[in-house]
Symmetry: C2
DNA sequence: ATCATTGCAAAAGATTTGCAAGGTC
DNA sequence: GACCTTGCAAATCTTTTGCAATGAT
């Protein structure tokens, strides 16, 4: 019993897989092998990913469990519709991230190494409401991406640049 | 003299055209006809626009002042580099907007009519710095897009939906 | 004259779609 | 069996690029 505690106390009662099935049924769509494979894989870790990366990680064309590129894109879109994933349109590619059972957050984007760092801010929520009210706007969501250089890249840069000055 | 006051008190002393020429010279790039045509057109109003829309507004393939699609894209990129324009990557297309002599701001994006409403927030600037500091991040910029339904669309929606209830 | 820029057409990258075959309810 | 989904290939859409001709300095 005690060992179940942490699981039972989780706010989200359905697994992504279950949640997706629910969504599929509600629209009389079907729960198929490829869809299961994708949801399984996608929710096995919490990293941000793009379609290309995901495809590269999945079984290849001649292996078992192969899912075609078209189906990957189709399913990714369904997962966004279902509210399990959300899309970030960065300057270059489109990145996906988990959006179910995962707290609302925003991102710092390092333009050097393309890393995304998540953060949360209560203040931002307030700000959002305040601005919306001023413009009589009905908010459904928001996206804040702060771009710049992460600590690691900043340091790497310094290491490369300073020696010249130090001679 | 008094009539010049408002012009002289403007913070930006160069026109976009001049500013672009400065940029071009600094990189030993050339000030050409097509580039002038584009800057002229782009800075003749302050609307948000995408490449397709811009191209549609420019002289057609057989008219004088025609600029090829490739050159439009090339110049748009140069204008962004030069700091005259900035890019917004919306869910669908990429939208450009003036970024020179125009105050920093963010956007409300109506997902119904695709309208972009600008707003400014001092609070957001503070928030940005605060978050960056926490993550030892060197900020170069940010992008906040709050999405939802604008007042007009919300009303239009109500008009279409309520009558049924009212019968 | 030198070197950048243009237009064109082809290429590229990312995502979507038509369709026949196969899977799910 | 009805109907949704898949894989494939072709199609789209948007943006980029190679190259020979043209233009700017």
């Amino acid at each position: 019993m005690a060992s179940n505690f942490s699981l039972e106390s989780v706010q989200v009662s359905l697994t992504p897989q279950e949640r997706f099935e629910e969504y599929l049924q509600s629209r009389s769509k079907r729960c198929t092998g490829p869809r299961r494979i994708l949801v399984d894989h996608i929710f096995s870790n919490h990293e941000h990913f793009d379609a290309e990366t995901l495809i590269a990680q999945l079984p290849g064309k001649n292996d078992k469990g192969y899912v075609s590129r078209a189906t990957v894109f189709r399913t990714l879109n369904e997962l966004v519709e279902a509210g399990l994933l959300s899309k970030l349109d960065l300057a270059s590619r489109t990145v996906f991230e988990h959006d179910y059972g995962y707290p609302q957050h925003d991102h710092l984007h390092c333009t050097k190494c393309d890393q995304l760092i998540e953060f949360q801010s209560e203040e931002l929520k307030r700000l959002r409401e305040q601005v919306a009210q001023q413009h009589k706007f009905r908010v459904t969501g928001h996206r804040l991406i702060i771009s710049g250089i992460c600590e690691k890249c900043a340091r790497a840069n310094r290491r490369q640049r300073r020696p010249v000055d130090m001679i």
